[in-house]
């Protein structure tokens, strides 16, 4: 698992160096590390933007999984997050789904995600977005509606850690937005 981390780190460092001194980046600096597969500047820059695109895609799939898990339609909510989130985050989301199932709560519709931004540093990063939950209504499986809480009606920021694991990006723990993002 951690075997790919040094490589990715090196890749990122190489990218930084190359951005600063493009001329110096001829690929020679890679000779000391035969394991590093992408030594060229153009490639590493692409890797950085590619990572951001990958993370954004994973985040979107993750939110879709959250919606699916809380819709009450999935028999095994944890499976929805497979390959999208860390074990802890999978367990946490499966927990919400199971408590909803237990209480007969479902959420119908979906939240509106906007302003997704991704920051990658080394083999970890942060994805943040605005989440508008006003169209993601709580209901009881009996059909009775639950009045949406006031807090649900105002868009709010969400920030998640992302970590690289075995070549793919996983959504980790939610973290405090800390007032840096407004929605």
């Amino acid at each position: 698992m951690s075997g790919s981390f040094p490589r990715a780190g090196r890749r990122f460092t190489v990218g930084l160096v190359c951005l600063a001194v493009v001329a110096a980046c001829s690929g020679d600096d890679d000779s000391g590390d035969p394991a590093s597969p992408e030594p060229r500047a153009t490639v590493t820059e692409d890797v950085a933007t590619q990572a951001e695109a990958e993370i954004q895609a994973v985040f979107e799939q993750f939110i879709a999984a959250v919606v699916e898990a809380q819709s009450g339609a999935a028999d095994d909510p944890a499976a929805l997050f497979e390959g999208l989130a860390t074990d802890e985050t999978i367990e946490f989301n499966a927990g919400i789904a199971s408590r909803y199932a237990d209480q007969g709560i479902v959420r119908v519709g979906e939240p509106v995600i906007s302003d997704v931004t991704v920051q990658v540093v080394d083999q970890s990063g942060v994805v943040s977005a605005c989440m508008d939950e006003s169209g993601w209504t709580p209901q009881l499986t009996s059909g009775q509606t639950i009045p949406p809480a006031e807090e649900q009606l105002t868009p709010h920021p969400v920030v998640y850690e992302v970590v690289e694991s075995e070549g793919s990006w996983l959504i980790g723990n939610p973290i405090e937005p800390g007032g840096t993002i407004t929605c």
Partner: protein
């Protein structure tokens, strides 16, 4: 018969009646309609909790049918526990017939608790896991609970951690330099009125009263217990050696003994205003040490420098 006067009287009466009816009904209707329109929003059972930063979860906080008539969640209600508390870790308290454990202290910070639904000041909002009789699956829920008795020490530690001892300063007399064989008196500033009060941890509050001060004169002699405000236990010490060979120096560069003091508080815990005893939780709290450098000279040296 139907004189103009009569007609106008009838019209007048109708108008008055209508006005009266409208005036009377309108507020009445508002009174009956408003609760009906707003009723869903006041559903007391469902609240939205921010269980992680930016992650919200709807929670039904109402007790289950099996918990009815057990106002006391702590298992202290009459008739003894109604659940089987023999299986660890679900052996802490009963919620009706469910045998439960709870995260104490709560993983949710207090500002995230649905305060408007709090059943009483002694309740805390936390994550509860229970065994349900005849059911394989665990009951897991965010709930208000009254911490059961054995959980109080955990909260006591939390309450203790919220007590802050004041930042004090230490000085001595005679100021600047004292002398071998003389009475050196230590004084502390910034102690306030001696009482420190912590914020509430669940149902518990910790209060500290300054009991005494411990002073380490820094010359290798024993720690003095004293009270800087009371003459009966004045913080005095007699140095028997000069301090010229000490490594610590005061602001003027004079070598001196590194004397230090700390405050010792007696701690009491109260729950709803009533003092409670918490086994295993310390009943005293010491402040960090804080000190000053005390240069000690000889009287002869004083005579010579003058």
């Amino acid at each position: 018969m139907l004189t103009p006067r009569r007609v106008s009287q009838v019209l007048m009466a109708t108008a008055v009646l209508l006005i009266g009816l409208l005036g009377g009904i309108a507020p009445g209707q508002a009174a009956t309609l408003r609760p009906a329109a707003v009723e869903p929003a006041t559903d007391p059972c469902y609240v939205l909790i921010e269980v992680r930063p930016g992650v919200f979860e709807y929670v039904n906080i109402c007790p289950d049918p099996d918990e009815e008539d057990s106002g006391e969640d702590g298992g202290s209600g009459g008739g003894g526990p109604r659940c089987d508390l023999t299986e660890e870790p679900y052996d802490e308290f009963c919620l009706g017939t469910k045998a439960c454990r709870a995260d104490i202290p709560s993983p949710l910070s207090e500002e995230k608790w649905p305060e408007h639904t709090r059943p009483g000041p002694d309740h805390i909002f936390t994550f509860v896991q229970c065994r349900v009789p005849g059911q394989e699956e665990l009951y897991e829920r965010w709930r208000w609970i009254e911490p059961y008795e054995d959980a109080l020490p955990g909260l006591g530690w939390q309450a203790l951690g919220r007590l802050q001892t004041p930042a004090f300063t230490m000085r001595f007399e005679p100021a600047g330099m004292t002398y071998v064989g003389a009475d050196t008196r230590f004084l502390l500033d910034g102690l306030g009125d001696g009482e420190i009060i912590g914020s509430v941890a669940g149902p518990l509050q910790a209060t500290g009263m300054l009991s005494h001060v411990e002073i380490d004169p820094g010359d290798g002699s024993a720690t003095i217990e004293c009270d800087p405000d009371l003459r009966s236990r004045a913080c005095e010490h007699v140095y028997l050696e000069m301090s010229y060979d000490q490594t610590a120096e005061d602001f003027d560069g004079n070598p001196g003994f590194a004397a230090q003091a700390r405050l010792v508080y007696d701690i009491t815990f109260t729950m709803g205003g009533v003092e409670v005893n918490l086994p295993g939780v310390p009943d005293t709290l010491e402040s960090p040490w804080n000190g000053t450098v005390v240069p000690v000279g000889e009287i002869q040296a004083l005579v010579r420098t003058r």
